[in-house]
Structure formats: structure tokens, C-alpha cells
Subunit: 442 residues, 2 copies
């Protein structure tokens, strides 16, 4: 390893960062990949962990295993807490003496992702659950299963425990609502003696007037019908005004207030860029939008800092023709295409070639599933729903899942649960965080 | 469900309790199974979760799923905090108003299991790790992997992070030591850039003079040789005198003191019966031994309380001929045979038949693995080691694992890791408890 080789630091092991590092495989550079976790998460399937269909290990792969053959890639576990752009340094909180580690770079790639937005109500974050990180998905799994356990213990007071509110009818919200309904209907049915799991209510609350608003007609309508058939109650045009421990308060479309007793609220609404976007903007004097997204140049660089690239759903990209900041959908394909683009930018720079043409997103389509063997897909102008959409969804997800072992296990689990309506990973583990009575001595 | 049917409460969803409930399938009784977790854990494979070979969901099955077709079985999640024998009540801490639930029984079966013993040093429990519950196995997995991550961050201070001390050379200790050695040698090797995972030290500390002391000669010697070939350092005749956060203090065979810098200490020594044994003994005026085991009658009942049965490794059983309390090995087959016996006792009682003959343990043999494709087995006087022992071990464990899906997935994972030396589930999740830098916003 040449000590004066070009040093690339990539922050974030999600789809964007991972693809960027892969794209540097044949580039003469020493690459350091930093993430707070030791694994890459296949985030589009987190909701399946949250509802017991897959195990956490099925959709997460150790980052250092992914890059074991890329000898010039070093993986370090740490949390970015600052950027020192003048010194070309990233500041990490990590398990080193003093707790802080600085990494020097020649080129920096930041792919910090996004979080859900609580629209100024950060106190809701303490109560509502999310299906974003793997840990949060494991927590949701424990909390949903725990709610049914509490209902079985308290058959006379089951109502609020068997009410599940999902906020936000984008793909994650739709998938979660469908899966919770199905979990109760197919999997848990027949396993309880004092309550009927099928008496659960799953409410999907959405401020807009349709589900999957980003999909072309008639897919939102078809998705809505599939959800209703699964037993999900759609509450379109409803806005959440408060989230409490045992209730959610809503504003109905006509402006009146209503209250729903519910112990489990899953938040899947709004997007807020990773705090790393703001840190970068402040360090580099760049702009961020209302959702905290950093505006980057057409070539993904931080304005005034060609050596810093940022990508994924923490950025909006300035269009080279119109000069306007474009917000691309927060999907894995966007991050992956940007990661690959970042790799090409760095390769060109090291080789002394011209920079590639500005980044352009090739929209290959969008997919969502709604429970067992139903889905919607919009691909190159074609629209699919029902079983064909689900089949496409399955093939795409298996294909992009990292690791042969994961692919085989996930395919087997899906086949098995398709046939039996079972779910193989219904565990309430310690990460389910609730001060549960049983964790004292384990 | 007849309201005046015989009511059986079974405490504990381990091998003993599970088998007892199964044995009651055709008996005219309403059965309530109580456990603090929502799943049965296949505990003999916990160590494989702790070393990333299997996923938690692979070896745990929801209790209510196991009994979904046994309509008269109700599963409740709760933690036993007391027995009111005169009132025929079990007292649970559970998620009910007031936090306490009392269950009435006509017959009570208590199968509370055991914990590791710290020989009066409960403060070591805070520092040392265990592979007992599923949550503890997930924590160990995170802590072992985290130690390698910290070593990679601190190549100049890797020694204590890459030293793993396993205390106790029974089956669990031997299996853990072998697996940690192999994890570093086969799986992690080549994935680190700043440290060499193979420079790890795995020390197996045992007070006795051999490993697997319960196995007949020459199996302990063969196991010792296999362990050494894997790179495990055997420290026989050594006694732990202190466990600290970054070191273990030992007394060597010649009486001198020594100190080992180690960040990861896994405790697999000694057995202490579940606190439920003491609670039962105090409630019923019975005796417990030094390890907290309750002494039960030859028919497994609590002396003076024929309606209370206790079993598994929280009891010793009085021999009907000699009158002496016999301590059976703390193995799944013992608990399962006792669970089945308890079912027969209850069935006879309800049918008005004579009680079955006193419980007798049929020793079918013992098995242990030492890493990849090596093991020792003692079966009906025959002794196996190496590959044949491992093959027997594999067949037996797949056979007894609950759930078709689990069997297929585990078999596939083992085949895959046998071929690739990979491990599919190497995640550091939140349950890994360390105040790690990365968990702040997930």
C-alpha cells in the first residue's frame, strides 16, 4: 500500500456508500469506509424483520465481509461528529483513547442517508416507533408481538393494545400496515386463547388524499383496495396532531379533532436528511433546504469543495441546465447510481481525466408490496399490480440482496411462509426496549 | 372448555416445561404455560448464535406457535415471583394492572432451569458474559465482534481486545472456546487491515485437571487435542480469583497468582438452580442443596405437596431405594424425560390410576462439538471422536430442533459455513449493550 496514494474516506455503509466503495475497486486509492454499524442493511426489507418474516441476519451483511477481497479498503466503526474541510479531515466518535478519531482524506464521500421527520415534534420520537435501522426494526417486532401478549393477559382491556397506527402511506407505511394486518390474520390467528388476533385494527393515517402518492394512477387506487381487503383502515386526509403513549390525536379532513386509543404507533412519514448534511453545509458554507438536505453541484460535489462529494437522500442535486435543486426519490437505486457516479468522478480525478458529465438519474421504476403475493410496480411506463407486481418485486429484491447465503435463506423463508402463512422469526428480544418483566436476570 | 376441568400450570418453556405440556395433549386438563419469554430456546445451540454461526430466530420458536393446535393450552408471558402453595396459586409479575397476576392450579409443574454460579462473587456477573439466554447470546456475539472492531481501530493497543477468556471447560465452555478460535481463524481472517484476527488468544480456564470432565476417557484428552489444534490455550488447574473490566486474575496450579489482560470474559462455570427452586423450598418447607437445587421426591413432587412437581436442573431427585438425592446432569434429555414423566403423573392422577413408578433417567449419551467437523460423543458405552462424533451431533441437533423451517435453515447454514468457513449472522445489534458510539439515533 503506497503511503502517498490518494486517500478516499467514505462515510456511510448504506446503498450509496457501499456502491461508491465498490466502484473504487480498480482505482489507485486507499479507501476507508466508516459506519456506525458493522453491517450494511438491506433497508427495503427492514419492515419484514419488523413483522417477523425475516431474521435480522438475513438482510444485513458485515461491511468488512463485503470488502474482504478489496485489499485497499479499510472498514472502521465510528460515528461522524464533524467535518474539518480546511484540514481535509473527518472527525469520528469511536472506541479509541479520548473517544475521537480524525481521518485525513484527499477525497471525501458522504452518504449519511435520512431519518423520518417529526415536523418539529421531536417528543413524538420518544413514543412512536420506526422501521429504519435494524435495531429499530427489531424493536418494532418486539413491540408488536408484545402488544398481542399483553392483550392475551388482559382480555378485558385489549382494545388499545390491538390497535396499530401507521403514520404515512408511502411504501414503508403501506408495507408495514399490510404486514401487521396479515401477521394477525394469518400467522397469529389460532395461537391465542383469550383474545382473537383478527380483532386487531390497523389504521393507516395519511395527510394526502391517496396511498403511495409517488406512484402513477391507477396504482394508488389498486394498492388502497388491496390494503382494505387485508383489513387495513385507510385514514386519508387525516393529520397527526399528537402522539401519546396510549393514544394518537388526529385532525380529520373536515377539521374536527379525533382521538384513537392505540399502544403501538409506527412512524413512516416525512423525510429529514441526516445531520451530516447540516454539518457539511455549515463547514462548507453551503445551503440546506427545509428538510435538511444539502444542495450539491451537478457533479455531486459540495459547492466550493470539489474534493467533497455528497449523495443519497441527504442531498438535492442542482440541475446543470436549469440551475434548480432537484429532489430525487429516497430510493436505493438513486443512492446506488450516485455512488457509482462518485466512483467515476474519483477515478477520473486520480487518472487526470476530465470529470464525467453531470449526474443523471435513470429511473428504472418503483415497486411496493402489500402483503402476501400482492404488490404494485411502475416500470418504464408499464404498470403492474397484484401477483405480477409482487413477482417482480421478489426477483428484484432477491437479486440485489447481498450474499448468496442470505439470498437462499430469504427465498426459502418466503416460499415457506407463502405456503404456510407462517413467520419464522417472531421473537421478543431484549432490544425491544420495553421494561418487560422478564429481562431481569437474562 | 369445561370450567371445572383440572387446571395445570406449567412454569418455564424450556425443554422440561415444553415436554410436560406436550405430554398433556390428550389429557383432560386446561393447561397454562408461563414463561418470561415468548419463545422456546434450543439452548444447546446458543453458543452458535453467540459466535455468529446461526441467527437468533433459527434456534428459538414462539411457544404459542408450538402449541397452536393444542387448544386447551394457554400461553402467558410473565415472570414467577412467588408460590402460594396453600392457596394453590402462582404469583406472576406480568403486564396487567397492578403488575401482579395470580394463577390458580390443581397441579403445578415448575421447570425453572438454572443459571451459572459465580461462587459468591455476584459482582463478576456484571463484567463477565454468559451464553445462557438468547439475549445473552446476542450480547456475547456483539461483544466478541466489537472487540475485533476496537482492535482494528487501535492496532497499537490490540492485545487485551484480542484476548478472550472462557471460564469453565464443560460442553458450553469447550464449544465457545473452539468457536471463538475458529471465528477468528477462518471467518474473520482476511477481513481486517490493521490487525490480524489470527493473533487472537483464546484461553480456556478450568479448575479441574481436564476438559469435558463428565465425559469418559479418552474423550477429554481427544477434545483437549482438538482444542489445541484450533489454537485454544488450555489452562487446566487454574482458578479464577477476580474478574475485572479489562483483566482476569487467576491462581495457577502451584498457587501463584497471575493476571491476564482481557476485555472479553465468558463465564461457563458452575451451576446454580433457578431462584424458583428456593422460592418453592421456602413455600413448602423443603430442602435445597448448596447449588440451590430443590430436593424432590422419587416421583418429582415437592415433599408434602403431591400436587406440585418440579423438574430439570433446578432439582435433585431422591432415589427411591437409597433415599439419597441424586444430581442428574443438566442436559436437555434429562429435562425432557422428566417433563414426559410429569405428564404421565398428571394423566394418571386425573384418570384416577396409580402413579407411575419413580422417575428413572435413561442415559442415552452425551455429545459435544469442538469447532468445524470435530466432536466427542459417548453413547451407550461407545465412544466417538472427530468427524463421526460431529456427524452424530449434527443429526441429533437437527432432529430435536423445533420447526421444519428452522431445521432447513440451520442445515443449510451449517452446510454453507462448512464449505465456505463463513458465518451468516455477524451483527453487532443494540442488545450488545456496550455504550457504543453509534446507537444514539437509531
Amino acid at each position: 500500500m503506497a503511503s502517498n496514494a490518494h486517500r478516499v474516506v467514505v462515510v456511510g455503509g448504506g446503498f450509496g456508500g457501499l456502491t461508491a466503495v465498490k466502484a473504487l475497486a480498480r482505482v489507485d486509492a486507499d479507501v476507508t469506509l466508516v459506519d456506525r454499524h458493522n453491517y450494511h442493511l438491506f433497508q427495503p426489507l427492514s419492515y419484514q424483520v419488523a413483522t417477523g418474516a425475516l431474521s435480522p441476519g438475513d438482510i444485513a451483511m458485515p461491511l468488512r465481509h463485503i470488502f474482504r477481497r478489496q485489499q485497499r479498503v479499510t472498514v472502521l466503526m465510528g460515528d461522524v461528529v464533524g467535518f474539518e474541510l480546511d484540514e481535509h479531515q473527518v472527525v469520528l466518535r469511536a472506541d479509541v483513547p479520548g473517544g475521537v478519531l480524525r481521518l485525513r482524506y484527499d477525497t471525501l464521500v458522504v452518504a449519511g442517508g435520512s431519518d423520518y421527520a417529526y415536523f418539529g415534534h421531536d417528543e413524538w420520537r420518544q413514543v412512536a416507533l420506526e422501521v429504519k435501522s435494524l435495531d429499530s426494526a427489531i424493536e418494532v417486532r418486539g413491540r408488536i408481538l408484545h402488544a398481542f401478549e399483553v392483550a392475551e393477559l388482559n382480555p378485558d382491556d385489549q382494545h388499545s393494545w390491538l390497535t396499530f397506527v401507521v403514520v404515512g402511506a408511502g411504501p414503508t407505511g403501506v408495507e408495514m400496515a399490510g404486514q401487521i394486518a396479515e401477521l394477525a390474520e394469518d400467522t397469529l390467528h389460532g395461537e391465542f386463547r383469550r383474545v382473537d388476533p383478527r380483532s386487531r385494527r390497523v389504521l393507516l393515517v395519511e395527510t394526502g388524499d391517496k396511498v403511495l402518492g409517488a406512484f402513477p394512477d391507477p396504482l394508488p387506487q389498486r394498492a388502497a383496495r388491496s390494503l382494505e381487503r387485508l383489513g387495513v383502515t385507510l385514514m386519508l386526509g387525516h393529520t397527526v396532531v399528537d402522539v401519546q403513549e396510549a393514544a394518537v390525536e388526529l385532525r380529520e379532513p373536515d377539521g374536527t379533532a379525533s382521538r384513537i386509543d392505540a399502544r403501538t404507533v409506527i412512524w413512516a412519514a416525512g423525510v429529514e436528511a441526516s445531520p451530516q448534511a447540516r454539518m457539511l453545509a455549515e463547514a462548507g458554507g453551503a445551503e440546506i433546504d427545509r428538510s435538511g438536505r444539502l444542495t450539491v453541484e451537478p457533479g455531486l460535489s459540495l459547492p466550493g469543495h470539489g474534493e467533497v462529494l455528497a449523495l443519497g437522500d441527504m442531498v438535492s442535486v442542482t440541475d446543470s441546465r436549469t440551475g434548480e435543486a432537484v429532489i430525487l426519490p429516497g430510493l436505493a437505486p438513486v443512492a446506488m447510481q450516485q455512488g457509482r457516479y462518485a466512483g467515476r468522478v474519483i477515478a477520473a480525478r486520480i487518472a487526470g481525466r476530465d470529470a464525467p458529465k453531470p449526474f443523471h438519474y435513470h429511473d428504472k421504476g418503483t415497486l411496493a408490496t402489500i402483503g402476501r403475493a400482492r404488490g404494485v410496480a411502475s416500470i418504464r411506463g408499464l404498470r403492474f399490480s397484484g401477483f405480477p407486481a409482487w413477482a417482480i418485486w421478489l426477483v428484484v429484491h432477491i437479486f440485489y440482496l447481498i450474499g448468496f447465503e442470505n439470498r437462499v435463506v430469504v427465498l426459502f423463508r418466503w416460499a415457506y411462509s407463502y405456503l404456510t402463512r407462517g413467520r419464522g422469526s417472531r421473537l421478543i428480544t431484549a432490544a425491544a426496549a420495553l421494561p418487560s418483566p422478564g429481562e431481569s436476570d437474562s
